[in-house]
Amino acid sequence: MAQYAVLVYSPAPADPMDLTPDYVALLERYPAQVAELGGQIVTGFALQPSTTATAVHGDIVTDGPFIEAKEVVAGFYVLEAPDLDVALKIAKLNPATIHGGVEVRPLFTPPAE
């Protein structure tokens, strides 16, 4: 099994308290769908809205996310899946893809000597 980080992007400020009941219902169904497709969510986190973010560039500290954009990281999870095709199938079912999107990115493991 390979491991992927799935970064969830939603329209700023991506406040989890603003999620609609419909969206929450979709989220609740999601782990079952993941399992059905042969994957497993190892761990995941939702984030506070991007208005609470603080960016550090060099020695400059600024209010707000690292990159100002219409969509911001709303959360992330680690997904275990047999391969990328399965991971992408799973990612496509994520409700975040309706109004935002997700980035699927393999976790790094140091190469063997």
Partner: protein, 438 residues
């Protein structure tokens, strides 16, 4: 509890030895209480809010409780007389309200860690005589680098000075809902991101203090030359900035830059009354009536500059104040110690390499080495993209070209400055100069 002093021991001027009729006494008490509450709002707000925030755990609750305490004071002080220590009375009352709310909410444990670790001793009824002075914590939290600069300024006015959101909005020429959203968002961030309620440690203090002084200086400069609008000066902001700096100096007497900033503000503000003529037109330094400058402010500012220099740790505010003090002490524009001013600008540039400082240096150079030398400096500065859109650059250029008797180029530069200036008094000044040339 000793928070409600009997009327007999209060020392308001009205409670004199003459014994007025009962109802007249009550009315006098009411008026005295009202005055005392207004005075306490101006003088004690920061202390009361800072001490209440420590136990409330978030600024919204703290503000609510402090406001309620001020309302309660109106009635209690009229009834029982003004207490000896109004600040302590207000703090004890506000903190008690905060405790009550927290107990009711039953979220004590989850709320408290947001600011400071709860002190077991403070869990009991707060002791009004041993209220810690948390004003520095409050200031450093409001000016935390994780908060956007404009929100730092708004938070400082709201939380440290107790200015209403509507008044802050008017000072910065934005709508009240916009300013309210800015303040709310900043307060939410403090709580959600857990910006700590503490004074920075020694190692980070210089940088963090610089942010605080920048916010106060920004308040002052916004008041001193309003960026746009009809009046050149917004006196309320100037007063707030001076009051804040005095408070900071009382709380941090060993920081030479706080001293330097207070000196700079006093020395600049000493000229406030002479910066415009009776019609509100801008007067240049050379045209101002030096006999009308505030000598008391100049004297205090000068002493503070010397004190700051004596520490041997001379920062940018002390250097700017030193320049301002040379101007303030000069008998006339021509008799100003320009060579020393140029030297101070050189020292300032090594500590604060800002193109705005370099532009001011060029003005001083023009009086020492002549307008041609200064013009060369200004033309070099014009290449700096950081000065693009800065209306003083073409204004200074115009003045130098005028002195060099190059009226066509001078007129062009005045027009460029006019396109960038938004303050009415400054625009009128530029328009007049332009008219003299054409």
């Amino acid at each position: 509890m000793s928070d409600r002093q009997p009327a007999a021991v209060t020392s308001t001027p009205e409670a004199g030895d003459a014994a007025p009729a009962e109802h007249a006494g009550a009315a006098a008490h009411g008026a005295a209480a009202e005055r005392a509450v207004v005075e306490a709002h101006r003088r004690e707000w920061a202390f009361v809010l800072a001490a209440t925030a420590r136990v409330a755990g978030d600024f919204d609750l703290a503000e609510e409780c402090v406001q309620e305490a001020y309302v309660a004071a109106l009635g209690a002080w009229a009834r029982d007389g003004v207490p000896d220590k109004p600040g302590a009375w207000l703090t004890a009352t506000a903190r008690r309200k905060a405790f009550d709310v927290l107990r009711r909410r039953q979220v004590f444990r989850s709320k408290l860690p947001l600011l400071v670790e709860p002190d077991e001793a403070e869990m009991d009824e707060p002791d009004e005589d041993a209220v810690p002075d948390d004003r520095l914590r409050l200031v450093f939290t409001c000016c935390h680098p994780a908060i956007a600069r404009e929100a730092q300024v708004a938070l400082t006015l709201r939380l440290v000075c107790g200015v209403s959101t509507g008044d802050i909005a008017r000072s910065f020429l934005v709508s009240e809902p916009t300013m309210a959203a800015r303040v709310t968002r900043a307060k939410k961030k403090i709580s959600a991101a857990r910006i700590p309620y503490r004074v920075p440690e020694a190692a980070e203090l210089p940088e963090r203090l610089d942010a605080v002084l920048t916010v106060v200086h920004l308040l002052y400069t916004t008041g001193h030359t309003a960026p746009s609008g009809a009046d050149l000066v917004r006196a309320d902001l100037v007063e707030r900035a001076l009051h804040l700096t005095r408070m900071l100096l009382a709380l941090m007497p060993d920081e030479p830059e706080v001293r330097g900033l207070l000196a700079l503000l006093l020395l600049t503000d000493a000229r406030r009354a002479t910066r415009t003529d009776a019609e509100g037109r801008l007067l240049r330094l050379a045209e101002q009536d030096r006999s009308a400058w505030d000598r008391t402010a100049i004297g205090e500012g000068r002493r503070l500059v010397l004190d700051a220099f004596r520490t041997g740790r001379v920062g940018r505010y002390a250097l700017q104040a030193a320049i301002a003090s040379l101007h303030a002490l000069a008998p006339s524009y021509a008799a100003t110690d320009w060579p020393q001013i140029v030297q101070l600008y050189d020292a300032l540039l090594t500590r604060w390499p800002s193109p705005v400082v370099a532009l001011n240096r060029a003005v001083a150079v023009s009086t020492v080495a002549g307008p041609a030398a200064a013009l060369a400096d200004v033309d070099a500065l014009a290449q700096d993209p950081r000065l693009a859109g800065y209306h003083y650059l073409p204004a200074v250029r115009a003045d130098l070209l005028r002195q060099l008797n190059r009226p066509t180029e001078a007129a062009q530069a005045y027009r460029a400055a006019l396109e960038l200036a938004d303050n009415d008094a400054e625009r009128e000044f530029l328009t007049t100069r332009l008219a003299e040339l054409t």
